[in-house]
């Protein structure tokens, strides 16, 4: 399941709800990305996530389909927020369920790596000194390439 939403979510509650859908899976891997309150020496007061409605959902659906092609999964969840967030709110939750933990781990990390370079979201951080769009990361690009 894929959800793109403005409102905050409770990661523990979402993970429990996901676990309830996969009682036959031996292993469930999850990843939670949180808003950090710092960048280098500067304090981050808030983050705004702009997104491309429609395309965001399409990309997540495509990523989910690709993960299911590559690994044997019993279930998969992606939740991604947009709008105004404050540290340390969760931005993203990815969960994958499988009979074998290797599949769950690999699919979860794959989804995060591809999501970071394909999902149409853009972060703007608010500092004391003003707002700045976050620059994309060469490391994220390199990590995504590992799965080609």
């Amino acid at each position: 399941m894929v959800r793109v939403q403005k409102h905050a979510f409770d990661p523990g509650a979402e993970i429990n709800a996901f676990l309830a859908t996969v009682p036959k899976s031996g292993g469930v891997a999850t990843f939670v990305g949180q808003v950090r309150d710092f960048k280098g020496a500067e304090t981050v007061h808030a983050m705004t996530l702009e997104h491309y409605p429609g395309m965001a959902e399409r990309e997540f659906a495509a990523l989910a389909a690709e993960a299911r092609r590559r690994w044997v999964l019993d279930g998969l969840l992606i939740i991604h927020r947009y709008g105004e967030l404050r540290p340390p709110e969760p931005i993203v939750l990815v969960a994958t369920a499988a009979a074998h933990r290797a599949d769950a781990f690999a699919a979860c990390e794959f989804l995060m790596d591809w999501l970071k370079t394909k999902a149409p979201f853009w972060k703007k951080e608010a500092f004391e000194s003003g707002e700045t769009w976050v620059a994309s990361s060469a490391d994220d690009e390199a990590r995504a390439q590992r799965w080609k």
Partner: protein, 85 residues
Amino acid sequence: MALHVLYFAWVKDKVGRGEETLSPPPAVKTVSALMDWLATQSPGHAAAFSDRRLIKAAVDQQHVDHGAALDGAGEVAFFPPVTGG
């Protein structure tokens, strides 16, 4: 032919709007040609498209290279590399 053009993040900030509906001339057949034409529309557009290497594009909500054809596309988006997650 009406084309819905979307801008995101600092591309939007520079253009000064998030979307617009335009009718580029028939000679504009690729994403690259569309950027050339858009850059002539206003100083904001010119600033946004001054360095194409920083710009990514999607045609009908699919990531594409700058060389991609517009064909009968209804929606084209321009944005910096994504930074979600």
